[in-house]
Symmetry: none
């Protein structure tokens, strides 16, 4: 089984080679030789550095070759994920998915399955059954927060600065900081960006792993 990663930059090459020692990495679909077409082959497209307008047609072009296609994105976008899958992709994952996960995905798509992150599967099914849940999955950790901390957390989650929060809650900026530090501890995040993402229930695949 041959896996070809198509990526305009070479930045993640090592990661992929780690997952598949015999993987090929090319910078454009045109470099994928005809000899592979139809055979035991899967195409992995890094769409993260590509303009939005090109992503769909890129996937369509790749999938028209007859091999399973995995779309790899930097920022998960539900609507785009579905569009990409409909355009012919069999897999949808993060560009920086762990090597073990890449291998799982490879196994799945190379056997005719669909692969996407579990949360997308849920959304996908929810939509399909027309039972679009009004209450999106909650963030239970928020229950650990006191009422005041929760107010601060929500402000941060909307992009407010410490000064703005202080004004809104009529407290000192210093107090805001105190609350924020407590929140970081309780929720296990390290800065306000991660807090904002957590409150908004957006996964952070960050750090160096």
């Amino acid at each position: 089984m041959v896996r070809i990663f198509i990526c305009s930059l070479g930045r993640l090459r090592e990661r992929w080679i780690l997952a598949f020692p015999d993987a090929h990495v090319v910078s454009d679909l045109t470099e994928v030789g005809e000899q592979h077409s139809g055979g035991a082959l899967s195409l992995w497209l890094d769409l993260s550095s590509m303009h939005r307008d090109l992503r769909l047609e890129s996937v369509a072009a790749a999938s028209s070759r007859g091999s399973p296609v995995v779309a790899m994105m930097g920022v998960p976008d539900e609507a785009e994920a579905f569009a990409l899958l409909q355009a012919g992709a069999q897999g949808y994952c993060h560009v920086k998915a762990a090597p073990e996960q890449l291998r799982e995905i490879a196994t799945v798509v190379e056997h005719g399955g669909l692969w996407m992150p579990p949360n997308l599967v849920q959304r996908f099914l929810a939509v399909s059954t027309r039972v679009i849940p009004s209450s999106m999955p909650e963030v239970p950790e928020l229950n650990q927060l006191t009422s005041r901390e929760l107010m601060v957390a929500e402000q941060v989650a909307h992009g407010a600065s410490n000064r703005e929060i202080a004004l809104a809650l009529e407290i000192t900026e210093r107090t805001v900081k105190a609350h924020i530090s407590a929140i970081f501890d309780k929720l296990g995040v390290r800065d306000r960006v991660q807090l904002a993402l957590k409150v908004n229930n957006i996964p952070t695949y960050n750090t160096l792993n």
Copy 2:
């Protein structure tokens, strides 16, 4: 990997054994010993001989054990397929699927994938793409960004720090800052939290501007 077929009738036993010589066939979920739970195990439910009302909860019960579940039906029904998958099934196929196909399905679901017949996949995606875009508008402003800026923006949107981004993209922290400043200008946001929210398509009701 252990496959357990759960079927009140024994009629298709030979077929399954043909696909998986070491498969177990039992007549009820309760017969599945606890020793298997969580381990390398997949559960295959023959729902064809089951009353409609029981199918959903049967799948739910099986999937609550933590192993992948494949729902096997006699008469394919689109709506029911969606419901069964939402109830926790990872696979949906015909009870009389060919042994080779059963093996494909096993491979897929045992690696975290979804499996359903190709025509159902198309239906799923058609429905999803029709319904979802309305609730998830795009972020067209991102098209203003250069490819490099987009990469940085995506990292920020995942909660990465400047240092992490610099490491990931193999550039200086200073360059990351340059990109980020450019992004702020283009997208009209003032800091990385608002950028993260914008990329993730979350409105910011910020008070002061």
